[in-house]
């Protein structure tokens, strides 16, 4: 699963720390998410998408 977190974070002018604080996770979790080394829970995916005012499938790209 790919994601657009890094791109959207830059667009919204948010640091990894800012995003981590908004979704109440550690900064390391955002780092792993951006590197594609961790698939978030549905709740975390929803929380992140909500920060960017988008749907989950717009932020997280599921590959067949």
């Amino acid at each position: 699963m790919k994601n657009r977190i890094k791109e959207l974070r830059a667009r919204f002018d948010l640091t990894q720390q800012d995003l981590a604080m908004k979704v109440k996770v550690r900064r390391e979790t955002i780092v792993f998410l951006e590197k594609g080394k961790y698939n978030p829970s549905l709740k975390l995916a929803y929380d992140i998408s909500r920060i960017f005012n988008m749907n989950i499938e717009e932020v997280f790209i599921f590959e067949e």
């Binding site: 699963m1 981590a20 604080m21 996770v25 550690r26 900064r27 390391e28 979790t29 829970s41």
Partner: protein, 132 residues
């Protein structure tokens, strides 16, 4: 992590109380234990300072990934411990090392295995479920 540190300290007391069967071996085991404890203490200090910095910044200190890493490390450690106990059983039968020392050594080794895997998963990532 606190439980791991406490276990290592208590086990250490046991190691140092064992009567030396082979003074050279006991000396080596004690030295190894002191080195491991120093590394653990240093690691604990680093983690504590990071945690207090995160708290000051208002960041979460525990989340779904950290819990997953903890569970995964625990799982790997459990399966490793089975192997460790078999080795200890073999050493108990084929060497004259005191049983108390062997048990203490097994407990410390299990703690070390947990710490190593916890560090590996923390730095390299815990991976994730495959989407088959």
């Amino acid at each position: 992590m606190l439980a791991i540190a406490a276990t290592m300290v208590v086990t250490g007391i046991e190691i140092f109380q064992v009567e030396p069967v082979d003074p050279f071996l006991t000396w080596k085991v004690e030295l190894l234990y002191v080195i491991m404890l120093t590394i653990l203490f240093g690691l604990g200090l680093v983690l504590l300072s990071k945690r207090s910095r995160d708290v000051k910044m208002g960041l979460a200190t525990d989340d779904e990934l950290s819990r997953m890493i903890m569970h995964k490390s625990g799982s790997v450690t459990f399966f490793s411990s089975l192997l460790i106990w078999i080795i200890i059983l073999f050493l108990e039968v084929h060497t004259n090392i005191e049983s108390r020392l062997l048990i203490a050594f097994a407990i410390v080794t299990i703690c070390i295995v947990f710490i190593i895997f916890w560090l590996i998963f923390n730095f390299l990532g815990a991976g994730h479920e495959k989407q088959d």
